[in-house]
Symmetry: C2
DNA sequence: GCAAAAGTGTTCAAATTACACCCATGG
DNA sequence: CCATGGGTGTAATTTGAACACTTTTGC
């Protein structure tokens, strides 16, 4: 048996939802399309899966194309395949969720693709079902960051606890008590004090920490039970 | 623009991981293939996505085919698309995760497909990457059931608290304190006492409860913080 | 020396755990 | 009447929430 009878192929696309954090807001890397279809509209960065390419490799390729980065934190977020989601022809899209340190991206690559970093609350409407994908990604970020230490993926290698707090406040769009936050984070044992103080500060300089990567891997799957409600859905069909 | 240039289609399959609970063990509905490829081997129930079919509709179709049921709890679990995963031809599979009340399935449909309910710890090795899919599904079941009230999907409409406890003990393969479990479950406010007592019992008859569906929907997305560790992975690529 | 941000401590309430006792049922 | 499983209570511990004071820095 060398083929399946009477089955025809479907176009497989990959779309990437790329989150960054600028110290104040959670941002998305979106592109203003200078190509068809829907030239001029905003969309996620995407592309077609190549003939001899694994899904994750396709995502890696597309992420590298837009950011110049390798070794990005990526998860599969889901597949979108409604019959009429792409008006050109039937296309099924595998969506990937990526977190990067916003300082590391390649400015040239971003410019080349006509992309911009846009705050979540200022994001334009996107083509096709990309709005739905982004909505799900934001929910996933909230869900996952409440339970696992993925926040660090959005920060530079060295960071202060106040920075980390601002990140979580941005993710959940809610103020957090400084003292409880600090205590909780330090108690995870995930942070290593570098002994250095943050230079960029007009007042008291905060201590710079780095992630204990060994402990991070070890503890990645133990729950944090950190933030208030967020969600994930099961669909009843 | 009515087509994309130079892009060729890929076969899209759907595979379903179907969990049941017989009062003692968590079981999987698996099929012993009486068709090619890999005739005689065990696999998940699957099929190809049809030309004008949405993904969820495909899953619904396949689940109905095998169980005779509609309105099953289903979630997308992920996509598997490694280039060589299917030796016949390149196929990308969208995997769905389903929970059903084992008493409701159609025996004829199951027999027709040469399928059986098999306990997790007795499951045979499966074809292709189906073992990996099942492994991920079990992890997902543990993860999700610790945080959301999905356990009820595996039970009959009316159930006792000891039954519910056996279910969670089976999911986590660990004993749970009877008294604390009962208190915690009742405190969720999700259970309605039917006033009826369980007939099938040689000793004291347990109270039968049913799910408060309104409250279930309302509280589905609030965390439970229920069970001990389980996991979910982010892939670093 | 003062405004602004960082670091640390204490108290109270709530949730979780670890236990022990009594009740209903069928044989 | 007794073995089996179901139902409920309580004390000890742990965890989380709320809140106040001191320190460092640049101007």
């Amino acid at each position: 048996m060398t083929s399946y009878p009477n089955i025809s192929g479907i176009l497989l696309a990959i779309d990437c939802i790329i989150f960054g954090f600028d110290g104040k807001d959670i941002k998305l890397l979106l592109i203003k399309r200078n190509f068809e279809p829907q030239k001029g509209s905003w969309s996620l960065m995407g592309g077609f899966l190549e003939a001899n390419e694994n899904l994750e490799d396709g995502a890696t390729r597309i992420l590298h194309d837009l950011t110049g980065l390798k070794n990005i934190y990526v998860e599969q977020l889901g597949v979108y395949g409604n019959v009429q989601r792409d008006p050109v022809t039937r296309t099924v899209s595998v969506v990937f969720f990526a977190l990067i340190n916003i300082d590391d991206h390649s400015e040239e690559a971003v410019k080349l693709h006509n992309a911009s970093w846009i705050s979540l609350d200022q994001r334009p409407s996107l083509i096709f079902d990309h709005n739905e994908m982004v909505y799900k990604a934001i929910e996933h970020l909230r869900y996952k960051a409440a339970l696992h230490p993925i926040g660090f993926e959005l920060l530079p290698e060295q960071f202060t606890i106040p920075q980390l707090q601002k990140l979580y406040e941005a993710i959940y769009n809610t103020p957090i008590d400084r003292r409880n936050f600090s205590r909780k984070l330090l108690s995870t044992g995930l942070l290593i004090d570098t002994g250095i103080k943050n230079a960029h500060s007009a007042t008291k300089k905060a201590a710079l920490y780095k992630l204990d990567t060994a402990r991070y891997k070890e503890k990645f799957n133990s729950f944090w039970n950190f933030m208030p409600d967020s969600m994930e859905n099961g669909v009843r069909i």
